[in-house]
Amino acid sequence: MAIEINGTAAATGPRPGQCLRKFLREQGNTGVKKGCDGGDCGACTVHVDGTPVHSCIYPAIRAEGHAVTTIEGLAAAAGSRDGQLHPVQQQFMERQGFQCGFCTAGMVMTAATFDDEQRENLPRNLKGNLCRCTGYRAIADAVCGAAGHPDPAGQGSGIAGEGQPDPEPARLGDDVPAPASRAVVTGAARYTLDVPRDQQQALLHLKILRSPHAHARVVSIDKAAALKVPGVVAVFTHEDAPEQLFSTAQHELFTDDPDDTRVLDDVARFIGQRVAAVVAESVAAAEAGVRALQAEYAELPAVFSPQEALLPGAPLVHGDKDAFAARISGPERNVVAELHSELGSVADGFAAADFIHEQTYETQRVQHVALETHAAIASVDAEGRLQVRTSSQVPFLVRRTLCRVFGLPEDKVHVVAGRVGGGFGGKQEVLTEDLVALAALKLERPVQLELTRTEQFTATTTRHPFTIKLKAGASKEGLLTALQLDVVTNTGAYGNHGPGVMFHGCGESLAVYNCANKKVDAHSVYTNTVPAGAFRGYGLSQMIFAIESAMDELAAGIGMDPLEFRRRNMVREGDHMLSTQPDPEEDVHYGSYGLDQCLDLVRDALDRGKARYREAGLDDLGPDWMVGEGAALSMIDTVPPRGHFAHSRLRLLPDGTYQADVGTAEFGNGTTTVHAQLAATALSTEASRVAVRQSDTDLVEHDTGAFGSAGTVVAGKATLAAAEELAVRIRAFAAGIRQTQASACVLDGDAVVVDGSPVALADLAQAAADAGVELAAEGRWGGTPRSVAFNVHGFRVAVNRGTGELKILQSVQAADAGVVVNPRQCRGQIEGGIAQALGATLYEEVVVDDAGRVTTDILRQYHIPTFADVPRSEVYFADTNDKLGPLGAKSMSESPFNPVAPALANAIRNATGVRFASLPIARDRIYLGLKGAGLVPGLEHVPA
């Protein structure tokens, strides 16, 4: 009995152990996504005879004789006429209930089955659909059909404030929808592995033998048995890999990171490191080949904590490296980078203090959990050019790294990213591209590597865990007299992003406070554990957790309101922003300043929230609940240091619309929309008339990439420059053919108005073509000078003294994003950052056991926030207009994450009197903390 898919019987049947998800994708239904492959995330939701199921855990054979509906067939199955969407698809499009869109098909397929009762209880009914981008507010609005655009007068509407320029329809300040909306809600958007069926069938598949040892030399790898497995084409080991060392971390300057990594190394430095690659005609054969490999290891002593790694005599993770050549600060001490500085004298500062706070703060490993796992396809085309399709935030840097590692000229390598299913910094690395390139170059056949969710957890990258010994002093007048930090970060087995995260972490977190005496000693330390890497906030969130917690402790110590204490010490426009250097960064300026507004916005919102609870008679939650509030602030430079480059090309198309070619990648950050809006504003047209193409190394010269929140403020600036230049050229050309002044020519939508009469842009394009003139322009931006952006978060919480349960009664964030190009989208970035930070604050932790093994290797062991976990946050924007950003805009993608953890810890401290200095602050730890402080009643009968 055949499986019917969207009304058509499948021509082939499934394999015995195949899951329905994989069968459907093989049949060409690539709208069915893999987020976890374990039944947890719901991205693969389809209907079998109308019933929603997770197709990744549905035995495909069970679907024989049944009718399967996927996202591609949903509208038709529901009786929508040709081209019309299912109502739920329509709502997701209208309410923009997505960012990267990788979870969207599953969300839509699930919500399409809801009745009114189910819609009333989304926490329960959507808990099997994980979204890592949005924070779920936009999804709730989409599922329930609530107003997608909030009432501007509403509480926390996320509408720009009074001083913001009036929104221009389809241009600056308008909630323009993402251009890919329809493709996303119909499952047609092409992510990395969503290649057409005929291309899928030509692929070889690569699977990886990973080290079972935390530290070992690879003595030998016997390939013979593996090569005999039917379907296995090749096995690659360190003997096949280039000698060139590199870093998986990707930056504009590769010298920012140590050269400590090989494509395949003969030393394994963490459990899960790749040791060999098997390439086969099918995934099953590649898996069997990996099992058949006989690898012999000589185990080496290993070290798992950075504190132990710093001790004399500790096992050396990269003791074989030359410090200078590899750019490692102290390979003989396991130190990849270090920083020592003192401004003023902290000894004097502590002597002048009336209150001193000392505490060790600790942050944990957390994982990005982008819904799309790392994946890449490489092939060599007929011209001998390496073609790589990858899930990357940085396609141009991937090209550079592949050229460097494999000794290829840049014109022999072409890298493209499709739509990327979430990044958060995790895809600012080369973790798959080098292996598929190696295999494709050797075999001259297309090779695909798709990581499993477990590989993501055990063998990609995490946020750097920080241990921060903090000592800070304040005078009773409320002045910060000294701030001293001893910072140890765990970079794991490789130094990718280790230096950058450490330096950046110790930057804006300290610079936001005026204090004459600041001292920092920091070390980024190797251990034999899964590497850490780039992750939203890039070291700032860890340091801000410590410093903002300390600010509350200092305020409490001197009896001052914590926000008032911050007001007295935070930088004001014009103040030098100093962290570890005696002079301010020469290219960082106050392009605008809204920190003071953000503090007031949060203070006022918390006061209103408190009043609302009181007026509703809900302010007394009973004797079990302790209530409190807290806040924290954060600052971030709007662009990473040392250059971040972008190049954009715009041209007028024959039909009178525009094409914008940009380098930056789209992974849910919304830059495609922003670029279209910026160009539309400069060209006096609508965003929908600007088609953006992106993340393809053949389109433009170079783009450093979508990281460091650069998509709007760097690449957007290049696009704006190109659009402004193109506007000048179009007007000049129109003036030329109409024999008038350029000043008499005004762009307006789809026309140029010349001396009052419109000339259609399509006609102008034809005239230009006839005249042999190309109406096109280019724009570039080098990422400097830079500005600063601010975020302040506030919480009201209730803590149950008997169980440790935490309720978030109110969540408020105020953001200083300059002129907000797209308020709905910017609000979404902030809501998503809050949700991701809540996970990292309350329960997420990549646990590494005493032997160096990651034990939290599936989503059921690594809980990310579900719909039920995330409160609706109020979002406010400051009224600022940045002198440096495009049309006054500032960055706002990493920074909303940064103040959340300390704000929550401060609220819990305010409620309970207990300082929680380690993350995550899970309910069990809250309870045990309260118990330790003698706050838990009724323990007479519980054993001591």
Partner: protein, 311 residues
Amino acid sequence: MDMNTIEAVVPTTDPAQWRDGDAWLAGGTVLFSYGSYAFGPQPLKRLLDLGDAGWTPITVTDDGIELAATCTIAQLYGLPVSPAAAGRSMPGLDLVRACCDSFVASFKVWNMSTVGGNLCTSLPAGPIISLCAGLDGVATVLAPGGASRTIPVAEFVTGDAKNCLAPGELLRSVRLPASALTARVAFRRLSLSNLGRSGVLLIGRLDGDASVTLTVTAATRRPVQLRFEGVPDTDRLAAALDDAIPAELYHDDIHGLPAWRRDMTYRLAEEIRTELAAPAGAHGFPVSGDFWPPRAGAAPAPGATTFSKGA
């Protein structure tokens, strides 16, 4: 995920068919979630498919309720409002939906996952284990050669992902006795996240005002049952917990520290004791935490203040 080592799927309910490298396939939601390599030193080679077993999912009689191992969670969830249960006074059925909603898995997974699958996976937080143990369920196990045996569900699970099944044995059904189903019951649960995996799940039962049975799950590596003549006082209850649960029996994983699970066990046990000591109906059917069912008018829902503004 694909189980690429599977060479054949064999429809059968006969334990004699079982050989090394086989696994019983019920809903498949566990097998396909963990994959071929997670169930022993060697990867699985065959799936023995119970899909066509034809076992009646739920049979309700005056003696009690029999749940087939292949009964899906979705079918079980429908039981309390089904015609079969209509007109019967079975307060114990109040536990059914509370336990189903204790699954971390979504309602969509319930369309495939089964009662037997949850028991045989034998995780401490398996909510159907909690349900069946709490109601003194008795499992029927089929062995090769036509033999069968019965065992209380509370003893069926012997540790974290461990149970009493010998290789090839097949869980056929669970019988919930009428005596337990007609008793007053109490339910308490806590998790580290909203609607998340249970860290502690306790079920209390008052049988005919004469005896109390307390079943501790999720907090402990295996179910622990305490039985009391009459309703114990606080001291007796605590002493019984002391005796029944040594420190090392408290489960230790990412879903709750053992010290928290222990204290919560005592706390929730005392809440259950208080509830069952009070007259019937005095407490309604309360549950701990913010999990189930969603109740209006209790503590304000997070963010409700802005939600109501239509923001």
